[in-house]
């Protein structure tokens, strides 16, 4: 279980990292190119980079995140944990375990 918790912490941190990267891209391109007169597909460059490219990069980021950073774990092993039954037994929940 220690191993799994370590992995989960890592996955949460990687997710946060992707989130921060998305924010940086969003902010840097929107405000960094705000004064550029260039238009792409009819839209201002800042908008194209920040909102359209930013979204696509974000999708690419999630692909890398789950393929490289995330690991599959067997969730069924956590069903019917013996500790869980003793833990919840005293607050009136036996009824719906049946």
């Amino acid at each position: 279980m220690k191993e799994i918790n370590k992995q989960l912490k890592k996955e949460a941190l990687l997710t946060a990292l992707l989130y921060v990267l998305f924010f940086i891209w969003w902010y840097a391109t929107a405000y960094g190119f705000a004064d550029s007169p260039v238009r792409v597909l009819g839209l201002p460059l800042w908008f194209f980079l920040s909102c359209i490219v930013g979204w696509l990069l974000c999708v690419a980021g999630t692909v890398i995140l789950v393929k490289k950073g995330f690991k599959n774990i067997d969730l069924n092993q956590f069903d019917e944990d013996p500790n869980a039954t003793t833990q919840t037994a005293n607050d009136g929940e036996e009824a719906h375990h049946a």
Binding site: M1, K2, I4, N5, L8, K9, E11, A12, L14, T15, A16, L18, Y19, F22, F23, W26, A30, Y31, A34, R39, L41, G42, L43, P44, W46, F47, S50, C51, I52, G54, W55, C58, V59, T62, V63, L65, V66, F70, K71, N72, I73, D74, L75, N76, F78, D79, D81, N83, A84, Q87, T88, D91, G92, E93, E94, A95, H96, H97, A98
Partner: protein, 482 residues
């Protein structure tokens, strides 16, 4: 003026929802298992596509289809930029909370976020505060969604507000009540697809009517150059949305509870990708549609909420307008259904079973759960019959309130060993009070959303409260951190 061709796709769509709900709830019954786990969390069986779609459909509401694009019409591309803050919704929720929630939910048979909070903080006071917040804010949100849908229906079909409300309002109440969580998520999945179709339809029609993106943008820029300005929304305001519709989403129980509902980690991984694709598409498409309307719409809309209905009637033939109208109605129904089933869970699972002394068997549980869902549904429906206005703001107010209540207890509960019940209660009460009082006073700091202050106070209160209380027990430590 009654517009028959508009209403045909709507009726077909609404009937389809009932059929799907009936079919999926039979599917659930065959699976067996406990009633509560089936009715409130669908026996944790969601695959990748349905998981991604239900998160999106729950989160995407009337404001993404009507309110937000209406503001983009008057503010410009900066408001589209703001809407894109929501792209990470799925990966943030599922990536941070997904597996931890899945494991904990299986261990303690949790079906609600409040179950998790109880297991983590071992405190009935936490349960009480959480349930109260859910009931108060969810009701406000459901009423706001119903009102938005009714007004939209009236404007677009010519039938009365009440007719619309009765049509889609009662249908969503019926399928949620009868089918439970499983019907909610499967209809959500279809509704997310309907939203995508609606977004494609309206965006393409507007671009075609305006003679292409290039010439639409030229026209908008000639009339008002600030529409193309990234700085048209002040930075403090737009950055505060990174909290309200950004990281704050980790505090919304209606989306986080879905992290308990998937069947395996493969489904979780894939839905992270699917969800990011689809939510980005919807936000970008609908808000751009609102922005493009500024160069296409003939006439002046009365309020920002009437921009989308007006442009739809202008650029789409009646039948296609009906196809489009299914989109926002889907957004509304999928949000309401998810809130309704959770509000019912808050009463049955979190309050009645937790605080009540009585034992129930599966059959009695089924009866009271269904009755409870129906009663909450009907109450919200009746509230919506006599409507107040401003859907976007009621909606955002409730959203901030939920985040102020749930964000720190949820996140710190998972990632801070020392976090305890006194911290969670101080944080929820202090955060919500700050947010509501500032909102009530009309306080505004450089246009920032008050959620910033709600969460800041919530964090300080959490830390102080935690150090005033005892350390969590070894049992909690073992279950959550070892």
């Amino acid at each position: 003026m009654h517009n028959i061709p508009v209403i045909i796709p709507i009726i077909v769509y609404l009937l389809l929802m009932l059929v799907i709900a009936a079919y999926t709830s039979r599917l659930g019954r065959k699976k067996g298992g406990g009633f509560l786990e089936e009715y409130f969390i669908g026996s944790r069986s969601l695959g990748a596509f349905v998981l991604a779609m239900t998160i999106i459909a729950t989160f995407v509401s009337a404001s993404s289809f009507i309110g937000g694009p209406g503001v983009a019409y008057s503010t410009g591309l900066a408001w589209v930029l703001l809407s894109m803050i929501q792209v990470p919704t799925a990966f943030l929720t599922l990536g941070v909370l997904g597996k931890k929630f899945a494991i904990i939910a299986r261990r303690i048979k949790a079906v609600t976020v409040t179950d998790y909070l109880y297991a983590r903080y071992q405190s009935k006071a936490v349960v009480f505060v959480a349930s109260l917040a859910i009931l108060a804010f969810f009701t406000a949100m459901m009423v706001a969604q119903f009102i938005g849908g009714g007004v939209l229906f009236q404007n677009m079909t010519g039938y009365s507000y009440l007719t619309g409300l009765i049509l889609f309002g009662l249908i969503v109440i019926i399928y949620t009540t009868v089918g439970g969580f499983r019907a909610v998520v499967f209809t959500d999945a279809i509704q997310a697809v309907v939203m995508v179709v609606a977004t494609v339809t309206i965006t393409c029609a507007i671009i075609k009517a305006g003679g292409g993106v290039e010439s639409i943008v030229d026209r908008i820029a000639a009339a008002n150059p600030s529409m193309l300005d990234a700085n048209a929304v002040p930075k403090p305001q737009i950055l505060s949305f990174w909290v309200l519709v950004g990281i704050g989403l980790l505090g919304l129980p209606q989306t986080t509870v879905r992290a308990m509902s998937f069947k395996d980690t493969k489904a979780l991984h894939n839905s992270i990708i699917i969800g990011t694709v689809v939510v980005g598409f919807l936000m970008l498409g609908m808000h751009l549609a609102g922005f493009f309307s500024a160069g296409v719409l003939a006439g002046t809309p009365e309020t920002s909420d009437s921009v989308i209905p007006m442009i739809v009637m202008q650029v789409l033939p009646s039948f296609w307008a009906g196809i489009f109208l299914a989109g926002p109605l889907a957004a509304i129904m999928s949000t309401v259904s998810s809130l309704l089933i959770l509000a019912s869970a808050a009463i049955i699972k979190d309050m009645l079973l937790r605080f009540g002394k009585k034992q129930y068997d599966n059959r009695q549980l089924k009866k009271i759960s269904i009755l409870c869902t129906a009663v909450i549904g009907v109450i919200t429906f009746l509230c919506a019959v006599k409507p107040p206005d401003l859907i976007v703001w009621i909606n955002l107010f409730a959203m901030g309130g939920l985040e102020a209540a749930f964000f720190w207890p949820t996140v710190l509960g998972l990632f801070w060993r020392r976090a305890n019940a006194s911290g969670a209660i101080c944080s929820a009460i202090g955060g919500v009070a700050t947010f509501l009082i500032l909102g009530g006073l009309g306080f505004s700091f450089h246009g920032m959303n008050n959620i910033i202050f709600g969460l800041a106070v919530g964090l300080v209160f959490f830390i102080i409260g935690t150090y005033l209380g005892p350390k969590p027990s070894d049992r909690v430590n073992e279950m959550f951190f070892e």
